[in-house]
Amino acid sequence: MKKVMFATLLGGFLGVFDGLTALFTPEVRDQIVGIVIGSTVKGLVTGVIVGFFATKVHSLVLGTLFGLAVGAFFAYLILLGNPGHTLNIMLPGSLVGLIVGYTAQTHQT
């Protein structure tokens, strides 16, 4: 599987789970569909960017840091619209980027 496709699928997969965890937060449970879709799209976009970066730059450290930065950036954009959930938004979003960045670099096509 190509790096970009692999990273995109992984990002989307993690995004789905990321969004589903909102089920455990009662005050946003009624917005779960929107949250899951938004989170999945965020994961997919992160995957595309990080996967493309991995095809151009072959460095585990740079790739992982880039993934972390992209994940954190998109999480921050979400945080701007939902202040007050810093840890719940920033930490998982950054982790998704980190994981996608690392696996995209180590994935053998």
């Binding site: 992984l10 993690l14 789970f17 719940n88 930490l91 982790l95 994981i99 690392y102 696996t103 053998q108």
Partner: protein, 288 residues
């Protein structure tokens, strides 16, 4: 008590051929190959060691030297020089390959991907020979050297033949364990698939995992038509296994497929599980 091979070597050294008049000095015997004895010799002009093969039997047999001279490939031992001894026998000097014979190399602990990597390089060299119309006809681990720096060289092309010549000869040559049935029968139809069979026999000793054994079994089919039709096809299936993909020779069950998926994506799976565990812990802390 001197062992039989040692005695054999000693007596052969006493019967060492006269190389006077050539640029070589014999040092010791490296081994006996197809159609001759291979000596370690010193090239006095270039001051380097070479493997000097003295052709026994048919003095006019220049087959191996001619074939090797035509096959310039990093996996095929090159010929440096060719000539005639005072007694009329022909000789040729080849690169002296340092390292282990594949059968000895295999006795040391090497993991399966490393072994298969060596196997693929043997396939490369043999496929190159086939592309130039040459069949080796005696492929076996003893005829492959793994060099000190990981280089892999296929040796002993003494019984190799041009394909069109091999097809009309009935002479039975090769090593029984690695010999295709049609080659053992002396059929007139022996072609490059006899080498595919021999490679399959070699592969059988490389690893006990089911897909690799299935590839080896397919390569060793008694019917040449049921084998891989080229060395490239055989190598491609081995490469598929190494890349974690399904191999042509083995029909997978669901369990096999899951196990392969787990092997191929072990790291991402572990990371995803770690991520989910972190998320679960975060939720637990928030609720507590």
């Amino acid at each position: 008590m001197i062992s039989e091979p040692a005695l054999d070597r000693l007596s052969a050294m006493f019967r060492a051929p006269d190389v006077a008049g050539t640029r070589y000095e014999l040092v010791s015997i490296l081994g006996r190959g197809g159609m001759g004895i291979v000596y370690l010799a010193r090239d006095t002009v270039l001051d380097r060691e070479v493997a000097l093969k003295i052709v026994e039997g048919s003095a006019g047999d220049t087959n191996e030297a001619r074939i090797l001279a035509r096959l310039e490939h990093p996996g095929i031992v090159p010929v440096h020089d060719f000539g005639q001894l005072p007694d009329g026998r022909l000789f040729y000097a080849m690169k002296r390959v340092r390292g282990d014979r594949l059968d000895r190399w295999m006795a040391a602990p090497h993991d399966l991907p490393e072994r298969l990597g060596v196997f693929l390089r043997v396939c490369d060299a043999v496929a190159f020979a086939h592309a130039h119309g040459v069949i080796h006809r005696d492929l076996k681990p003893e005829n492959v050297m793994v060099g000190e720096f990981g280089e892999v060289l296929v040796l002993d092309w003494g019984v190799a033949r041009q394909m069109q010549i091999a097809e009309c000869k009935l002479q039975i040559v090769g090593t029984a364990e690695f010999m295709a049935p049609e080659q053992a029968r002396g059929d007139a139809t022996v072609d490059h698939r006899a080498d595919v069979y021999a490679l399959g026999a070699m592969l059988e000793s490389f690893g006990e995992v089911i897909p690799v054994l299935a590839i080896a079994r397919k390569a060793r089919s008694a019917d040449p038509g049921a084998r891989y039709q080229s060395v490239q096809a055989l190598a491609a299936d081995v490469s598929r296994y190494l890349a974690g993909r399904a191999v042509e020779a083995h029909r997978e069950t669901v369990v096999d497929r899951l196990a392969r998926f787990e092997r191929r994506y072990r790291l991402p799976i572990l990371l995803v599980l770690t991520y989910l565990a972190v998320r679960a812990l975060m939720l637990w802390f928030v609720r507590v």
